[in-house]
Structures are given as C-alpha cells and as structure tokens.
C-alpha cells in the first residue's frame, strides 16, 4: 500500500487489522503533527470518530482517531496513549469541525480535558457533579444503589422451583387417581354384566 511506504519514511508501521481496517500506533508528542500530515499530505479528509478506552490497570487512556479518504474504501486508526491522571488532548475542532462534539462527549464521559475547546459543557448528562461515568474506577452499581433503591419485593412471592414440584406431584396424583378409578369402574362393570363375557365367548 502507498500509505505504508509514506509512513515508513516517518519510521511508523502500518498494521492491517481487517480488509479495510489499518492501524498506526504513535507517541502522544507526535500525534498532532501526524494528524495534520494525514489530512494535508495523505488526503484523509474525514474524521469518523474519536474513541477512548480506559486501561485502568496500566494507568492510561488509549485514544483512537478513525480517518477516511474521499474514496471511503478503508479506515485508518491512529492510536495513542495518554496518562489517566489529568488527561489532556489537543483539540481538533479547528481542522475537523465534527471533532467538537466528539471531544465534548469524551470530556463528559472520561474527563479528558481539551484546552482551547469552545464548548466543554454538558452533553448528554445534566448537572453531573460526580466522577465521569465511563471511567472504570467509577462504581456504577454503588452509585445506582445509592440513588435508586430497589422496589420492595412482594410478600406473596413464591419459590418457582417448589411450586413447579408441587404442580407436577399434583398432576401425577391426579393421573394415578383417574387410572385407579377407571380400573375400579371396569372391574365393577365386569362384575355387574358377566353376560358380556359370556356373549363374547359364544
């Protein structure tokens, strides 16, 4: 691929993930200049998305920029790592206008700061004053239980397993009873009308 040789000059490696999907991993320091050269020199005019992954155990966020050319035949992911604490990224809204809302969402959900971004205000949440909710050290369950207690269970709730067992046993008993009754009836009929058998024999 043409792009691979271009990236080799920058001492970067292009890895093919799927038929249409490639990825480049780069240091945070060279990120902005690489994004600019992707736009201006390589012709990747579209920014699909900016994604963030929380690697809590290793202590960093993995940021992925997805770029496309005009042909829309493949996607290049540019991946970089930034520190979790006081995370900060250069804003791209001056180059790709759609980056404004993507960065706004990332700021709300992960707490990543974008210096120079014009609208770092509430996006989907309102008046949120807790830790950003998609960070993995945010204990969602504890927060939910503190805000919204469970509804109290009904007192007449029954154990489904035992109820089914009882039902099965009742069914069995009814079947047995019906069988016995039928047998008794047949025996009684045979007793009352012995002539039937005699007729049959004849």
């Amino acid at each position: 691929m043409d792009l691979a040789s271009k990236l080799e000059k920058l001492s970067l490696e292009l890895v093919q993930k799927q038929d249409y999907l490639y990825s480049v991993t780069i240091d945070f320091e060279r990120l902005e200049s690489l994004l600019l050269s992707f736009l201006n020199e390589f012709g990747y005019i579209t920014l699909d998305s900016i994604n963030c992954r929380d690697d809590l155990e290793d202590g960093f966020f993995t940021i992925t920029y997805c770029l496309q050319t005009e042909e829309r035949d493949h996607v290049v992911m540019i991946q970089t790592k930034i520190q979790r604490e006081n995370a900060s990224l250069p804003t791209m809204h001056t180059i790709w206008p759609q980056a404004e809302i993507m960065e706004r969402e990332m700021h709300e959900m992960f707490g990543v700061d974008f210096p120079g971004h014009p609208t770092l205000i509430d996006f989907a949440l309102e008046y949120w004053d807790n830790m950003p909710p998609l960070r993995r050290d945010f204990d969602t369950l504890e927060y939910v239980n503190s805000m919204n207690p469970f509804r109290e269970q009904r007192n007449d709730a029954l154990d489904a397993k035992e109820e089914m067992k009882k039902k099965r046993e009742a069914k069995k008993a009814a079947k047995l009873k019906a069988q016995q009754e039928a047998e008794a009836k047949a025996a009684l009929e045979a007793q009352n009308n012995p002539s039937d058998e005699v007729k049959n024999e004849e």
Partner: protein, 211 residues
C-alpha cells in the same frame, strides 16, 4: 376538593342549589354522568421516552383505532387529560416530564408502558435512569410488557376508563395530597436543579396561591 368543577365532586354552590330545590340526589346523578362522559373522551399527549413510542402509532391509527373508545392524541400537554410515558426515564427526561405533567389541566392521568418505569427494566443499573417512577410522579395505570402490544395498551385504556367511571381516587389527587413527598424525591435525584413548580392556583392568588 371544595371548589372547581373538575374535582371528584361537583361545584359546592351547584350542590346547594340542588338541595334547596329538593333534588338531593341530582348532584350524584350529575356526577355519574360527568364521570361517564369524561371516561369516553380522553385526550392523550404521547411522551415517547423510550422504545414504547413505536407502539403508539398503530394504537392510534386505523389498525387498532383507539379513537373508537374516545381516546385521541393531542399536540400539547395543556390540552391533554392523559400522558403516556412509554419506556425508561433518564434524569434528564424526568425533569422535562415533571414539567409537562404539571402543565396539564386537572383531572390528569399518567399511563406508563413497559417494565422500565416500574423497576428499571433492563436499565436497572444505569447511572442515568430512574428505577421507580412512582416515587416521583403518581401513576394511574402501568401496562407491563417489553414492549406491550397495542392490544395491551388498549386494555390499559379500558382499565383507566373503568376507574374514572367508578370515581376511584386518581393519581393527580394523590399528587396534591402528598406533594411534599413527591417534590422531596424529585429533588433527591435531580439535585435541586428543578424547574419552579406549576402548582399555583392563579385564580386564588390571595389565599396563598396553593392549588
């Protein structure tokens, strides 16, 4: 309710006039008639909070035709008797639903679709949705199912109509009685960022203005 024609009893003055003219039972008969008419003309504002909104077009159009039962959709909450909340409610949505509900004229009713307003449904552990709607607003009819079919929604209408006809205590009366309880719960999850209440009686501002 002492005043107003909208309550569960007729206007006090009218009742006195009936009694003066020796028609003691007339107001009861009138009340019954009013309730019957009310049950046959329910104007609905459909607030599509979740996936259940997709069940409302077939309910109101020719296939299931809720209009044959006197259930009609309207555009604004001020014209509506019933609000249908069709699914889970985020805190953000709850804030707007409270606003919408308090704009509605009395008598007003709430119907919810699906299991999410009852116990959170599949969103029970979300950081941004409520679990029990009846902590924040009084629900008249909950139609269960995920999602309920239009037949079930119509069954909910029938149940609501029965309750109106029988003169049972409606949700809006409970909301008035336990106003502090509901407001406290709303403030707990909405963090005090709540719109000023619409619960103002504009016709009796001199007497404190509390409806």
């Amino acid at each position: 309710m002492e005043s107003g024609f909208y309550g569960s009893s007729l206007d006090g003055n009218l009742k006195c006039k009936f009694e003066e003219s020796g028609l003691a039972n007339t107001h009861e008969i009138m009340e019954k008639a009013v309730r019957w008419f009310r049950s046959r003309s329910i104007f609905v504002v459909a607030y599509g909070t979740g996936c259940g909104a997709i069940e409302m077009p077939p309910t109101f159009t020719s296939r299931y035709d809720a209009e044959r039962m006197g259930v009609v959709g309207v555009a604004t909450p001020r014209q509506a008797d019933l609000i249908i909340l069709s699914g889970y409610l985020a805190y953000k949505t709850l804030r707007r639903v409270i606003r919408t509900y308090e704009q509605m004229q009395k008598p007003r009713y709430i119907m919810t679709l699906g299991s999410c307003p009852i116990n959170g449904g599949m969103y029970w552990d979300s950081y941004n949705t409520i679990k029990k709607l009846d902590d924040y607003l009084p629900i008249d009819v909950s139609v269960t199912g995920c999602m309920p079919r239009p037949e079930a929604v119509i069954d909910g209408f029938v149940l609501l109509q029965e309750r109106i006809r029988n003169g049972e205590k409606a949700g809006w009366e409970k909301y008035d009685e336990n106003f502090e309880f509901y407001k406290e719960n709303q403030k707990r999850v909405l963090g005090g960022h709540i719109d000023p209440s619409y619960e103002t009686d504009w016709y009796n501002l001199k007497s404190g203005g509390k409806a």
